[in-house]
Amino acid sequence: MTIDTTSTRPEAEDNRPGMLERPLSRVLRPDAEGSRLRGRPDLYTAYKQDMALLNTPAKRNAVVLLVVATVLAAFVLPNDLVVLLSTAFVLCIGAIGLNLVTGYAGQVSLGHAFFVGVGAYVAAVISGPTDGRLLGYGFSFLPLWLLAAGVVTALVGAVVAPIALRLKGLYLAIVTLGLVFLGEHIFKEARPITGGPGVGRPAAVPSFGGGEIASGEVWGLVFLSRAQQLYLIVFVVLVLLAILGRNIARSDLGRAFSAVRDRDIAAEVIGVDLVKAKVLAFVLSSFYAGVCGGLLFTIAGFVDPGSFNLLLSIRFIAMVLIGGVATISGSIMGALFVALLPRVSLEIASRIPESIGVDEILLEGILYGVLIVAFLILEPRGLYGLWVRVRNYWKAWPFSY
């Protein structure tokens, strides 16, 4: 946007003589923070404004509205929907993680389910009861085990990352696929930690100092059920990690990721540290996966070692592709979409006559596949791309461009 110096003049100073003799830089930046001018909300007068996370009033208002609505939803929605949405928020965290490594840095990982599993078990072991048949240390303070789940999984990611340094493209995809199969085997066999297949173990125990989170009055103010409390906690974690993800993406590290994705040799030539970028992509993605794993099973309260299979990895890939590659908001949209898909297919299946023999499980499976294929062929930018199309249409309305 070009800057018209005559109209950017602050109105309060309009009648002061000698205004136009001020140095140009002061006119371009009316004050240090570059405050927005009245009546010209889309005019950026500072680089900082242009690069702000919420750079338009519409975005700011929409985000505030969305956050308020989401918090209020905890009190309005029926219990099963609150649980469903909490699970969806946790999946959002995992999807952001996968999008960092696969979307931004271009390192195809089909092994996300393995990292989610590591996170789930680290959290469960740290917070689990000390006296049970399974390994547990009884530290049920939620921020502690959540952080530990993230950090330990990130370390595992750092161990796997060197493989990504040697391989690229489809070779990496196949190797990470092997990681899922190996991980599934390890989870099934490490009985003292996971309880073994078909038996499983209780998931991480959430608490804030006192006893395990349970339905009851919070701070003596309002009665909240366990599901509602977890919903709010998970939402806060998601918002924090989404902002972190967005900031990583627009920092120098995020730019390095994009450069590596687009052409890694060219990136190296212009001075991007390939080793650092690739390892950090895996580490960050694993951190998100670990946090996701720690929370994912806490809502249901139970982990089965068979959960971390190829299908879970494919679900994460589907979230990223359906939502939008290399966008944080897209990851969230995609994860919500995929998490709500079972519910949607249940609704659709109940309307199909039984004689056709299509039930919700079959329908859900087919929908996953069809949606992945359809989005990749028709709208590779995913839901985010659809949103951009709608936005651009209305931007120029009533003209076509």
Partner: protein
């Protein structure tokens, strides 16, 4: 009880070679598609299941003789593969190979969900003439299924080599694999080559699927065995048909060796690796090989220019 070590070894080897030949067939299918289109088709397991299921239906429900049913199943899978290629993969020409690979993953989910629903909880029987019958050789009882799988696998691979080497179509496929644009200029219909390689890969997968489900039948989990062809092609290198055959057989033998010699019971041999480690051992081998040879044993290293 004293176990005859020779017999045990021969037994292990025959199991390994039989399964290895099956993996080799699947792996060659992967390589044929990769060479001509540059895409790893994750839909191979689904095509295998769909084909083997149709063999079972043709043989059991329609009462066709076994070999006729196998041929019919191969034809059916080839048709499915052609449809998949035309509908889902052709629009992806010119897009990054990873994206096309994910499309095949989507296709795999759709096909497999439908096939699993038809299979149901009880495995579908192939009606094959081998069953559990065995031949005794050097004290080991070798399954006829393994012998048949190895022989038929090797014959098919040899036929495929001959096809690539001596037929005009095979030459066209090699040309398209070498350079698509130049092949186009030479008057080769590259689209036909793509379709043909998908059909070929599907037919190979069906033969593999028929042997994989020869004893226990085709169940909802049989498809996981098809993924073991991936370590095989990684071992051999993504673009080497010969490498895929060697890789497949090597994976089969490694798996059988782990199954035979790992030892069960606590504190014995390699038992700390856990029960059924054999089924995931191919992936471990793959990881180790890739750490030292990033393009497999026989693959062509990519030379990149900026």
């Amino acid at each position: 009880m004293e176990i005859d070590q020779t017999a045990r070894f021969v037994q292990m080897l025959s199991d390994g070679l039989g399964n290895g030949a099956v993996y080799a067939l699947l792996a060659v299918g992967f390589v044929v598609i990769f060479k001509s289109t540059g895409v790893i088709s994750f839909a191979q397991p689904a095509l295998m299941v769909v084909g083997a299921l149709s063999v079972s239906i043709f043989g059991q429900a329609l009462g066709l003789p076994y070999w006729v049913a196998v041929i019919a199943g191969m034809a059916f899978a080839a048709v499915v593969a052609l449809v998949v290629e035309r509908v889902a993969l052709r629009p992806m020409v010119g897009r990054p190979p990873f994206v096309a690979a994910i499309v095949t993953l989507g296709v795999d989910i759709v096909l497999r969900n439908i096939a699993n629903r038809i299979i149901g909880p009880t495995p579908a029987q192939m009606g094959d003439p081998f069953g559990f019958s065995t031949v005794t050789f050097m004290g080991a009882s070798i399954q006829q299924r393994d012998i048949a799988a190895f022989l038929i696998g090797m014959v098919l691979v040899a036929a495929l080599f001959a096809f690539f080497k001596y037929s005009r179509t095979g030459l066209a496929m090699r040309a398209a694999a070498f350079d698509q644009e130049v092949a186009l200029v030479q008057g080769i219909n590259v689209g036909t080559v793509f379709a043909l390689s998908w059909a070929l890969a599907a037919m190979l997968a069906v033969v593999a699927g028929v042997f994989l489900s020869a004893e226990a039948g085709l169940s909802q989990t049989t498809f996981t065995s098809a993924f073991k062809a991936l370590p095989a092609i990684i071992l051999g290198g993504l673009d080497s048909v010969g490498g895929a055959v060697i890789g497949g057989i090597a994976i089969g033998v490694v798996e059988a060796a782990f199954a035979t010699y790992q030892g069960t019971g606590t504190g014995q041999g390699l038992s700390f690796l856990g029960n059924n480690f054999a089924t995931v051992s191919p992936y471990l081998v793959m990881l180790l090989v890739l750490l030292f040879k990033p393009f497999g044993l026989f693959g062509t290293p990519e030379i990149e220019r900026v």
